[in-house]
Symmetry: D2
């Protein structure tokens, strides 16, 4: 079968994970182009590793007939327009989350996807993590019975720097739309029922003394699903012991818990206590494999002309829930999802 020819647009941290995965872990895809607005840093690494060098202008990639599909890993504020341009250029698109901060834009994207018939997959890579896939399998095979409560703890190892807030589009950035959006997608991944209501309680605790930062860095979010099952997500931007990524699905027949991935199964037994390994710290260590798996799934969908496993609708719903959570935290009241759903 013909290899799928991919280009990566945006070669920062996440873009480089995609580049490396495509080069080393995908049998049925080939990386043919890379672009980045500031290509110097990437190109230094790329020339050492033997990866394709990046050009500045992504539009050249869109014109390149050799390119079958693009992987967009640019700042979130650029996603929407780039997806539309790529779709119009006939490229299949894999885009990091969120598809856009603006729900109306996502509805527009959905229309264009339908018109052009291109494939659009959103980068909810956690759906492709072996741990969460195993938990989902237990749900689907009925091992847990009916779902009653889903719990997710999702804590970053360290908070974003000031530039996160001050960069262009930074005014849209929030723990709800950037961090928790993954968790909103995860509760939807675990639960066949849809979310109908959200209540978020948030605080500024990590940055307590940083006056310039006014946004929440810690939050607890409760969700109700259409079948009255519940979910709760707790987030923090700083867990000093590592990237804390646990979850749990509790049902009538039992529960599944997902603990953190660790580097090794070694434990030190010492006078200070029984010390085992901390959770993995970097996104690449913790989710590198799931990033590879999601691109594999995208390439497979292209090769087999099949449905992508996470689509624009998932992208839309997740941002609507995120918006609802942000609004809930601001106005301190539960928000119904339908309040914020755009017309379609």
């Amino acid at each position: 079968m013909k290899k799928v020819k991919l280009a990566v647009i945006g070669a920062g941290n996440v873009g480089r994970i995609h580049v490396e995965n495509i080069v080393n872990k995908l049998d049925n895809a080939e990386l043919v182009a890379v672009s980045d607005f500031y290509p110097e840093k990437y190109n230094e690494i790329a020339s050492e590793k033997g990866w394709p060098l990046a050009r500045k202008e992504y539009r050249e990639i869109l014109k390149d007939e050799e390119v079958d599909a693009v992987v967009i890993a640019t700042p979130a504020a650029l996603h929407g327009d780039m997806i539309i341009e790529s779709a119009k250029a006939g490229k299949d698109v894999f885009c990091e989350k969120p598809l856009d901060y603006d729900k109306e834009k996502i509805v527009e994207i959905m229309k264009i996807v339908e018109e052009t018939g291109i494939k659009l997959q959103i980068g909810f890579n956690r759906r492709f993590d072996k741990n969460f896939m195993k938990a989902k399998e237990l749900v689907e095979t009925g091992k847990l019975g009916d779902i009653h409560v889903i719990k997710i703890t999702s804590r970053d190892p360290s908070p974003p720097g000031m530039e996160y807030f001050t960069a262009p589009g930074g005014e849209h950035c929030s723990i709800y739309t950037d961090t928790t959006i993954h968790d909103f997608d995860m509760v939807r991944f675990f639960n066949p029922a849809e979310v109908v209501e959200v209540y978020a309680m948030g605080s500024k605790l990590i940055n307590k003394d940083v006056e310039e930062i006014t946004r929440d860095d810690t939050c607890v979010i409760t969700l109700r699903f259409e079948d009255d099952s519940l979910a709760v997500i707790d987030n923090s931007w700083e867990a000093v012991y590592g990237y804390d990524q646990r979850s749990e699905v509790f049902g009538t027949k039992g529960a599944v818990t997902v603990e953190n991935d660790v580097f090794s199964e070694t434990t030190l037994h010492a006078t200070e206590g029984i010390i085992s390994e901390k959770p993995l710290v970097t996104i690449k260590d913790r989710y590198g494999e799931s990033y590879a798996n999601e691109i594999k799934a995208f390439v497979d969908a292209i090769q087999n002309d099949a449905k992508v496993p996470v689509d624009a609708y998932d992208g839309l719903i997740s941002i609507v829930i995120a918006d609802a959570a942000r609004l809930s935290a601001e106005e301190n009241r539960p928000i119904k999802i339908k309040e914020l759903m755009p017309e379609m």
Copy 2:
């Protein structure tokens, strides 16, 4: 030092745990009387075990000069009046939670306690569990830094029967005031800051098809403390794998997690998987030791004329939070604690 002479009023499940603990585990106390309205069942066990037999009328105990203090383990609806009678009879009182469903009554109790100078301890036994005490110690010694988020999972092994709702006073019973009240006390135990606001999302899932039961059996409750730290409690009346009692305190320097107590540290490695022990199931197995510890602490306070470790104020606040949670679930809005605080 003279042994403290105790009487137990109410010899049901929990009362019998107290009887057995006083008889077998307390060096400095003596059980001199027991009363129960239906004493037959207790007396059968008591005569076998060599425990004092129960009389029907608790008022005789209150008149008995030999009795230094009473342990009240009757149905909750009776607590308030019995405490007041006991206080007036000059007895120190240990009373199971809640002190009363009615906050005004608790305020009245507090006044009488002050006037009579008796000691009144409330039965928040989980404060005396070795696991939670160890977690608290980590908080107090600064190992966790500033607290950001407290999490409690508290699931009963099986739901209360229909009589729970239909017994006299059953109209007051709810998951918020009976089950979660322990957890409300626990978040206060862990956090030196006080709770200021509560939001509860509850559902009827276990009893979904039981029309007669209209109350929630599953809930997720979010709390805000005065310093903006947060807590989340999730409850269920039925975890088929056992009595699930976990908690977590997350702070700036780290977190402590408390896992379930198990019967043994054995693990079976078999073709079906690696199978370890389920959580302990009964209250006596899980909390028997903490029930003994709380009575020890009460007796010590009497002997040393010291402050009791959990007092009427703790009883008041916990029921106010519980009421707030119930109201929040009913009205689907966050409730400020001060809204419901009685005048004092």
Copy 3:
């Protein structure tokens, strides 16, 4: 049913555990007398706790008609003669391990036990530990299939002091006959087949630089059973992280592992790592409950005139295996058990 009246002879560390257990945890027994050659230390504790005070002379206890049975917890060198005296006085006997260092003496004991018809139980308390009982249950219910390999790790938290070697009878003391003897009994507890051969490799590592001590403090012992299944025991007199008491039974259908008991189920997640509790350190903390259980079983056997669960034969075989291990280590060759079995 009439309570069994017990006397404890020898009120050192282990004797005091027995005293406390009999007083607090046994419904069907009563402690009526205690003796110790140096009673001062015990009596100080006893008068505080309200336990019977000790007299110096144990023979008075043997003459006391009120006493049904004695619990012997004196230094090992005295066990054999005291058992014989007690049996002749018509007392049932519970005796700490080993029954005697001299196998011929144990054979003599066995004869007297048979002649007098008294009950003699040996203090292999680990058979009554909930963890090891659960493991045994898995063996007996066939969950492990045929046993292939048994593994025991048994490490003391700190080595015996010099007086262990220099006290009267100290020349008999060794890691094989004092520490490992428990483990020899445990492999027999787990495996229905009998031990037929032993090979021991020992070293002086902890006391490497203490010239006066010449005996092994670390060892690995391999055992073959009559059905060719194998066992391995590794011992050390010093594990700085606690009293390390693990075991494993591996069979055709699976394995059971027994991990260490800990004080609490709390775990600290910190920058230094994920730190859980160390194994319990003292004998009383780790095995206090199993000490109570074994005396309960002894008292039950007396009350019901039933067979004791661990008898003189178990005492004999364990010391024969221990002797074989010691000889094996000295002569560096495998030793057949039958080489050392006394005539019976």
Copy 4:
């Protein structure tokens, strides 16, 4: 830096792991040739995966000037001669364990390696496993103090078939020389001191009723090191719950335990118990990464003209210990390593 051009000789299970690793995981090496005596099966997979096809005759590879180094993964009986031929052809050699069953042949190999100056690395891949490397790091950084006891449990998921014993060279095959040889290398990896004595107790338990098979399938082996520290290895050819690969190093300051790698960190909490994942089953799943790491280390040594991390001497000592273990089991006596060391 120029990529190292590798050829793989022997494309069975293990050979294919090497092929895949070289193709996908090594940046600085290139796979230029493969040979296998029965190339059909490999070639089918290879053409699907896009790997180089295999030719039958490995001697053509040795003549090929393009090839820098060969990876030998043929049946063990062929290793020695192939290494010698390859060395004479000027190729660097990576060879699976054992280098040869015949110690004299290994001494000959060592001489030729010295004369020709080629690099020869032996495939003790477990030294490159992240778990065992972490344990070794704790030893080397002094976290464990002086080593007292090393323990390894190494159980295969299923026993070798009859062809293992009946194939050419099968008369040399044994659990000691094929399975345990890895563990002999691991104790040497963990302990800076050398092994001086071995005692092995083995049994035929799995194949109890297979008359044609006479060799041990279960064993416990005790080792003494030159500094009197001890090690114990227990092996079985069949653990029904997976590939059981645990180890432990116990020293004066603490211990490190290495538990099994698992597929995911999920746990099912159900009425049957708390069920977590079984150990990984296949060599590729469990050690695929360490196979890649060892070849990386080999290629790095070639590129940098550095010493290989595991050399012919390690290969010699491991087979001498294995021979000693086999002899010990046969003659039922401890064997000194120097008894079996060839003249060098």
